[in-house]
C-alpha cells in the first residue's frame, strides 16, 4: 500500500533528458502523481487539496471505493483504521490502525482500500493529490467516521 512510483512515464522523461539533452528539462520537475497499475484502479476523480498557511487535519471518513494519495509539495501523515460497527464498539473490539508518512521529496504514494476510515494531517502550503476510483457525488459518497486518534487529537 505504500511505496514509490516508478512508471513508464518517468523512464520516458528520463530518456528525453539523457538522450535529447534538452536543457529546458532542468527547469522542471516531473513526478508521477497517480498510476493505475499501482493503485489497482483507474482514476475517476483527480483532486488537489491545498491547505493554507497552517497544518490541517482532513478526512475522517470512509467510502466504498479506493483512493490513492501522493504529495506534490510538502508532507503529510495518514492514519487508517478498520471501521467497526456499533456492536463491535460496544463489545470493546479494538480497531486495526496504521500510520504512514508521505512526502513529495520521497515521491511516495499511499493507497486507502475501500471501506477503510482515513484521515490526514497535511503541512502548511502543501499540495495533496487524491485520486478516487469513483466520482465524488456529494457527501453521500463518503460516510463520516471520526475519533480522536483518526483526527490527530491523540
Amino acid at each position: 500500500m505504500h511505496g514509490q512510483y516508478k512508471s513508464i512515464t518517468d523512464r520516458g522523461w528520463g530518456y528525453c533528458n539523457n538522450v535529447l539533452d534538452l536543457e529546458e528539462f532542468e527547469s522542471a520537475q516531473f513526478q508521477t502523481l497517480f498510476d493505475a497499475k499501482e493503485a489497482g484502479f483507474t482514476a475517476a476523480q483527480l483532486k488537489f487539496l491545498l491547505p493554507f498557511n497552517q497544518e490541517v487535519v482532513l478526512g475522517g471518513h470512509y467510502h466504498t471505493y479506493g483512493e490513492a494519495f501522493s504529495m506534490w509539495h510538502g508532507k503529510s501523515t495518514f492514519r487508517v483504521e478498520e471501521t467497526l460497527d456499533e456492536n463491535q464498539i460496544q463489545e470493546g473490539v479494538q480497531p486495526v490502525r496504521s500510520e504512514h508518512n508521505l512526502t513529495a521529496k520521497d515521491r511516495g504514494y499511499f493507497l486507502v482500500p475501500p471501506g477503510k476510515a482515513h484521515g490526514a494531517k497535511a503541512g502548511p502550503h502543501s499540495v495533496l493529490v487524491g485520486c478516487t476510483a469513483e466520482a465524488f457525488q456529494g457527501n453521500d459518497s463518503a460516510k463520516p467516521y471520526k475519533n480522536d486518534w483518526l483526527m490527530f487529537k491523540q
Binding site: 513508464i8 529546458e24 482514476a43 475517476a44 483527480l46 488537489f48 493529490v129 466520482a135
Partner: protein, 132 residues
Amino acid sequence: MALDEVVFERRAKDHEDDRRVLVSAFNGDFRAELVTGIATTNKPTNILSFHGDPLMRGFTTDTLFHLLSGSAEVIVDGEEQTYSLEQRGDIYDRLMVPAGRGYLINIGPNSRLSLSFAADPEPAEFPPQRNF
C-alpha cells in the same frame, strides 16, 4: 468517453473552507490511468509530446492538462489557436486533447501543470540503429 475534439475550459474551485481549497481536475468526466505533475522553477520550460511523431511512436491517448498554478501555453497539432492556460483567483484552466494529436507546451515559471493520460502510454518504439 473518447474525445473527438480539443476542449478548453475555465473551471472554478470546488470547495473552500477555513482549512483549505479543494480543486478537481476532473470528476467523472474523464478517467485517467496515469497522472504526471510538472512543476517549474523560476525558469520556464518547453515540452514536446510525441503523439503521432513518426520517429517516436508513442502516447496515443486522450490527455487532460490542468493548471494548478502559474501559466502555460499549449500548441496543439491541427489547431489554429494557441491555448493559454492560467490560474487566476478561483479559476483553474484545463485543456483536453484527443489521442493522436501532437502538442507543444510552454510552461511559465513557478507553475504546476498536471497531465492526465486516459490510457497508460506504452514505451516509445524506436527504429533500429543504422550502421553506416
